[in-house]
Symmetry: C2
Amino acid sequence: MRKEVVESAASNVVPPVDLSDVGEIRDILGFHIRLAYVTVYRHFMETFSDLDLTQKQVSVLWLVSDNPGVAQTDLAQRLHMDRATTMGIINRLEGRGLLRRGPSPQDRRRKTLYLTPAGEEVLKRAKAAIWEHENWLKSRFTKREVQTLMGLLDRIHT
Amino acid sequence: MRKEVVESAASNVVPPVDLSDVGEIRDILGFHIRLAYVTVYRHFMETFSDLDLTQKQVSVLWLVSDNPGVAQTDLAQRLHMDRATTMGIINRLEGRGLLRRGPSPQDRRRKTLYLTPAGEEVLKRAKAAIWEHENWLKSRFTKREVQTLMGLLDRIHT
DNA sequence: GCCCTATTGTGAGCGTAGCGTACAATTGGC
DNA sequence: GCCAATTGTACGCTACGCTCACAATAGGGC
């Protein structure tokens, strides 16, 4: 099924004998992803210091706004979150009056989510901040490179 | 569900007039980085469930092993971490007996870090696990794509 | 030599977020 | 109508990021 793409310093066909030698930490793709994520996250937090929202919180607001009435489980799935984790985020946002839970007409186990007017307002401002943040992030790439990068990243999380 | 499918055609030349409209959340590069990171992190934790180490902890062990006697501040800088955050990680690793702090000959404010034999042993096993993890991650890319991806990610955190 | 500032490690406290586990209510297949 | 699966919820634990504060030390200017 999966191609065996063995890495750089090791030979191309035969797995390395000493498994403990993975080469330099600089050759570890996961390491680079983490560093990039941390950098982006940090700048995001700076940009959003006045709105006091995290990436995940904005993601949730955005998705709920685009899909009013969505259930928590669907939300969790789309954002790759645990159900329990989703709970915490929803609780916080609800506590701040940015969204509300309502009953679901079809399934009484489910709760439907929708933004309050305050939530919509905050999201609107958040999007403006994101525009700024994205410009900062994308400024180091050409449009083509952004497409390439997104395409490659997509292959990881899908 | 209203969906404005702007797709990749979004704002090719002119910045959008309405700053609050950043398009689909799918067009946000930061969003993709976060999803990719979460996916990688999750798989990492699965791979390391028996060793009970996080990405950061392995990174610290690795860097200390490669640079014995390094100071905490230098470590923090290389891993893009806060000094206080670094403290916590070092404390945990020291508490588990994987590394130790020693005095610095030149600067009495500094502490030098070095792995214990147990730490070296754990790192050795961690590297084997990383080899597995990296194969899983890189299996979806060609060698060339891995290089491209790393190059693009590097531009973010440097 | 002596001050002033910067650096380094440390601690306490707060917030976000991930996970496992357990449980009640509800649904849906059989 | 019963049983397994789903959904939301709560609780506890851990990791980790931040701020702020403080003590010890270092280094530059005088």
